[in-house]
Symmetry: C2
Subunit: 276 residues, 2 copies
DNA sequence: CAGGGTTCTTTCAATGGTTGGAATAGTATT
DNA sequence: AATACTATTCCAACCATTGAAAGAACCCTG
């Protein structure tokens, strides 16, 4: 009597599970496995997290390595390659704004010696494009390349306030996610806040975790007048008061906007002034 | 009499030209089309440069856009997406060293107010990982994400000097490419130069184009003692003398190395000193 | 406002790259 | 030595992939 394993295991319904997914999607899902916590992965880890058989993963990875999207370490693990970084540096909303904004971020950083952040919106989150920090600065929540929520950060509120109406409604309708350390706003208050941000060009938020900080952010506009990025400063609560920071942040953001071709609206007083 | 195009054009030997290339390779070749000069491309441009039929390109691009590797502008053109930038920011040799090195680059920049560069080697070229420049600084040859030759730049010489023996031989054997503004060295002199770079931890090169500049570079080591990056400063020829810059550059590079876990060799004098 | 030229998009039948189980080799752990 | 895991090679079945063709959507220019 021979064993009949078929009785035990529901014998491979389709025999070829998961087959039919486009190759590119699979390759990209391999890239997506990498994260802040997973920067170097073995073949089996990649296969497991991307949910595909090892031979398939190996074949795809081999192509990615050949091109330079991935690199193989001496110990056999894989990491994201410089070639991918190189192409990514051509991303207008990534390195593009970063390159233009950096000098002004540096100025702001020099003056304040506190965290200076630059972010753009990707779907429903803010993606950190740049961060300048003093070596001895306070703890910071987000790293470059990382993501931050739109509703509960100053840098995110600016991006949300500048998004198209339809997108804002989608977010506003959503039930508030409870993030520790930040009092989540009900819909009505959030609407008012966003309106204020649009009017004043400033968003401000207090956090208590990971540490007690105040963030002040301001929008960066492109030539078409769309909000393309958000510039923020994060200081320990109780140090420089927010109303002192706001003008500096706003000025830096406007300087970047101007470099992007934005014709800033000039206030009535200033115009009167220049007209004599 | 009807035209017979078959006589002119070798009539589609296999009917399906170029067929048989792995899908991933094609997708990646689409990404590779983007460059400093081509940051936003139409479908037909992408198809033409990547050498594939428009429908094929469209299909692949659609997958890339869905994932976020590419983004579509309002005018229909495609650009590199933030999502790709996000994954690329996990590249150890890209953002990795950059993140660790940045504070020290900033220190060096603050002190000198001249171009400070950081690069890693990718195959036979140096890839610029970071560049700090004053807004009014002298013209600079290379941009972040761009590539520079190994033999005719200070930052490249350092990387070449630190590469494995076999790779160095390959490069040394190669006939010198003539780059304008930099006197190309014959093999013998280049060998001596590389040896000097290894001994002193400093490479130096004078350029005349695009402007008269002096570059001083120094290697960055990882915990295993391999040269993983190169740090360089570029100043106008005739300003700060190179022998003044060298110690600052070397110190900054060593500081970064230490942060990467490199146990720097201490000179005999220093050791004697501390031993009393 | 036709009309030639371009780019973009959809369709679809043929097919060859892709697939993953199975087997093998390599490596670490018990 | 045995066990467990990971990495790699092999290969026949098969389905995603392919690109010509045709249509749709725009330009321009006369």
């Amino acid at each position: 009597m021979t064993v009949t394993p078929e009785t035990d295991i529901p014998p491979a319904r389709g025999k070829r599970p998961k087959q039919g997914e486009p190759v590119i999607d699979r390759a990209l899902s391999l890239l997506a496995v990498f994260s802040d916590r997973r920067r170097a992965l073995t073949l089996s880890e990649l296969a497991r997290y991307a949910d595909m058989p090892a031979p398939t993963a190996l074949r795809l990875i081999a192509r990615l390595v050949a091109w330079g999207a991935l690199e193989r370490l001496d110990d056999g693990r894989y990491v994201v390659g410089v070639r991918l970084w190189e192409v990514a540096s051509l991303s207008p909303r990534g390195h593009g704004v970063r390159e233009i904004a950096l000098p002004y971020l540096e100025d702001l950083f020099e003056v304040t010696r506190h965290h200076v952040l630059l972010a753009v919106r990707d779907n429903e989150q803010a993606v950190l494009i740049e961060r300048l920090s003093a070596k001895d600065a306070t703890e910071v929540a987000y790293r470059v390349g990382g993501r931050a929520p739109l509703r509960s950060t100053a840098i995110g509120l600016v991006l949300l306030a500048g998004a198209d109406q339809q997108f804002q409604e989608t977010i506003l309708k959503r039930p508030p996610e409870n993030e520790p350390g930040v009092p989540e706003m009900p819909e009505g208050q959030l609407r008012r806040t966003l309106s204020d941000v649009r009017r004043t060009g400033i968003a401000m938020i207090r956090r208590t975790v990971p540490s007690r900080t105040v963030s002040v952010a301001s929008p960066i506009f492109d030539a078409q007048g769309s909000v393309v990025a958000s510039l923020s400063i994060v200081v320990p609560d109780g140090s420089t008061p927010p109303n002192v920071l706001a003008p500096a942040v706003r000025a830096a953001a406007r300087a970047v906007s101007r470099n992007l071709g934005h014709r800033a609206a000039v206030s009535a007083e200033a115009r009167t002034h220049s007209q004599g």
